[in-house]
Symmetry: C2
Subunit: 324 residues, 2 copies
C-alpha cells in the first residue's frame, strides 16, 4: 500500500516527511497535479461494477486502489504546466484526478471537502465557540453602524481579512492590523469587515495537531509586539509547552467536527494564561516549529500516513475516517 | 423559522417553489449573493461563546439562527454586482456569507460540500457502482493505448467531458458524441478523455429525488436518437413511470452516500428495460419534467424546505442531516 503526496516539487516541508516514510520502507509516490498531462498521467476503468485506476508520475505507476493514504500538501493547479494550459484543461484534469481519488478508500490528510470548509473563518470561529475554546469578541459586518457599536463596546480592536490571502499575483498575505480609536467605519458598507477584540498577549501559541497527537509551541512576546505573528520579526525561538487538558479536549472536539487529520492552531496567550483561539490553518506550515522545538511533527505525519487503510463499507468518501 | 433561497433573480424554477412556500405561510427570504454588498448586507457577532447573525435583502432582515433550511439553487458569484467588483471582494463576501451560514443549524438542499463533491463524474460513477446501479463500461484516461484497448473491447463508444460545462463566456454545454470506429486516440495524451460504452436506448429516464421521494419520468426514443438528451429536439413528452424497488433502493443508497437532499438522475433504458446510470446532477432542472408529467416536484421541494430544523448537537455542519 502506497502513500500518495500531492504537492509542488519545491516543497521542502514535504521532503521532511518523505525522509521518514523512506526510512520506514513505506512506498511513496509524490506528484504535482500541475504536471498533468506532462509528467503525470492517469487512467481509470469502470467495468462490471468495479473500478481499476492508475496514476503515473516520472515513470512510476501506482494503483489507486492500492493507496493507503493521500496527503494533500501544497498541490499546484491541475494541468497548469501542460503544453497548452487552459481553464478547460485545468477543469477536466482536476475533475479526473480528484474525482477518481475521491472514490478510493484511502485515508486523507486532509480530505478536500474538509479542507475547503476549514478555510472559512466565520465557520472556524463558530466551531471553536461550540467546542469550548475562548474566542475573542468578533464582528463580521457590512453595516457601518454595527461596526461603530462594536467599537464602542470593544475600543481596542484589530481588523483582518475574512478570507485570508489577497489573490494578487503573487498572492499576498494581508496583515492583521490595529484599528485607530477614531476610525471611520463608513467603508464597511462596501465589503465585509472582520473586527476582533485585540488580545493583549504575552505569548503566541502554535498548536499542531496530527491525528490524535497535540504538539504545542510557545513564543513570548512583549505587549507592544506585532499583532500578526506572520509579520513578527522577533528572533525569540519557539519552545515546547504543555497543553492544558481542557484545551486539549476542546481542540480534539474541533478536529472531529472539522473532520481534519492535520491542523495548525494559532492562539494568543493573555496575562492570565488563557489561550484565545485565533484560527486553525488546515495546511499550516510546521517546519519552523520543528526546527525551533525539536517536536517530531514530520515524523508524526509520516506515521499517520503510513498506517494501513481500513475498509469502511458504510462510507464512500472516507471523510469520516480522518480522525482516529 | 425562515427558508433562505440563494438564487438569481430571473430563476423561474425557484418561483415555482416560492409559490408553494407562500401558500403554506412559511416565511421565505430569497437573495442573490451577487448583490452583496449592494441590495444584500450581512452581519454576524461572536461574543461570549455565542453567535448572532443577520442577513438583509431588499430591506428585509432575517436572523441566521432563525433559518430552518437553506436552498442553494442557482446563486450568482458573491459580490459580482457590487459597485466596484473584484476577485478580492468576491472572496471576502463569499467567505463571509457561506462561512456564517455553514455554522448554522439549518438543513441544506444541498450542502455546499456535498454539492461540490457531487459534481465529480468519476466519483459519481464509483458511487453508482457501489450502490448497485448498472454503469456502462467507462474509461477515463490520458493513455492513448488504454483508449485503443478499450475501443477494441467496446467498439460502440461515446465521448463526453469529464467536468461538464465548458467555462467559456457564456458557458457552453459540451455534447456527448459518438466515437467513429476508426478514431485516432493519440490526442488523449493531452487531456483526460471519458469514453463510455454507448447504451442502445429505447428511452431516456429522468429520476428526480427530493428527500425520500422518488419521481421518475420516461421519454421513448428511437435507436438512432441523439445520444445527449440535452440536445434532443424530439417533441415526445415525458411520462411518469414506476421505479423498480431495486433501483429505488440503490438510488436511496446513492443519495445517502452523496449526502444530497436533491438529485436529478439521468438513466438510459435499454431494450431489456435496464436503467443504465449516466449521471446525477445535484442541481438539475426540474421545471420541464413537472410541466410534462404533472409530478409535484416543486411542491416536494417546498415541503422539504418547510420542515422544521432540528438541533443536532453531535454535528456542526449539518451535512449529515440532509437525507432523513
Amino acid at each position: 500500500m502506497t502513500v500518495l503526496i500531492l504537492t509542488s516539487e519545491e516543497d521542502v516541508t514535504a521532503d521532511m516527511v518523505v525522509v521518514h516514510l523512506n526510512a520506514s520502507g513505506v512506498p511513496v509516490v509524490r506528484l504535482d497535479p500541475a504536471d498533468l498531462t506532462g509528467g503525470v498521467a492517469l487512467s481509470g476503468e469502470y467495468v462490471h461494477g468495479a473500478f481499476r485506476g492508475h496514476l503515473s508520475s516520472a515513470g512510476r505507476l501506482v494503483s489507486i486502489e492500492g493507496l493507503r493514504s493521500v496527503w494533500i500538501r501544497r498541490p499546484g493547479t491541475a494541468a497548469a504546466r501542460a503544453a497548452v494550459p487552459s481553464g478547460w484543461l485545468t477543469e477536466e484534469a482536476g475533475q479526473a484526478l480528484y474525482g477518481m481519488l475521491r472514490g478510493c478508500d484511502a485515508r486523507w490528510m486532509n480530505h478536500p471537502d474538509a479542507a475547503r470548509r476549514a478555510r472559512h473563518k466565520p465557520w472556524q470561529l463558530r466551531v471553536a465557540q461550540r467546542c469550548g475554546l475562548p474566542v475573542p469578541a468578533t464582528l463580521i459586518t457590512t453595516f457601518p453602524q454595527a461596526a461603530r457599536d462594536f467599537a464602542d463596546r470593544y475600543p481596542d480592536l484589530v481588523v483582518k481579512p475574512v478570507s485570508g490571502t489577497h489573490p494578487q499575483d503573487p498572492p499576498r498575505a494581508v496583515p492583521t492590523s490595529r484599528v485607530a480609536p477614531d476610525a471611520d467605519f463608513s467603508a464597511v458598507a462596501f465589503g465585509p469587515t472582520l473586527l476582533q477584540r485585540r488580545v493583549a498577549k504575552r505569548a503566541d501559541i502554535r498548536l499542531t495537531v496530527v491525528g490524535e497527537r497535540l504538539l504545542a509551541a510557545r513564543r513570548a512576546t512583549d505587549a507592544e509586539a506585532e499583532v500578526d505573528v506572520r509579520f513578527d520579526t522577533s528572533d525569540v525561538p519557539w519552545c515546547p509547552v504543555e497543553v492544558a487538558p481542557r484545551v486539549a479536549e476542546a481542540v480534539r472536539a474541533y478536529m472531529r467536527e472539522a473532520e481534519l487529520a492535520y491542523g495548525a492552531f494559532d492562539f494568543a496567550e493573555d496575562a492570565d494564561g488563557t489561550w484565545w483561539f485565533l484560527e486553525c490553518n488546515q495546511s499550516g506550515q510546521f517546519g519552523f516549529i520543528e526546527v525551533d522545538t525539536g517536536q517530531p511533527i514530520a515524523l508524526g505525519i509520516a506515521e499517520w500516513l503510513a498506517r494501513p487503510a481500513s475498509w469502511r463499507p458504510s462510507r464512500v468518501n472516507g471523510a469520516r475516517a480522518q480522525v482516529p
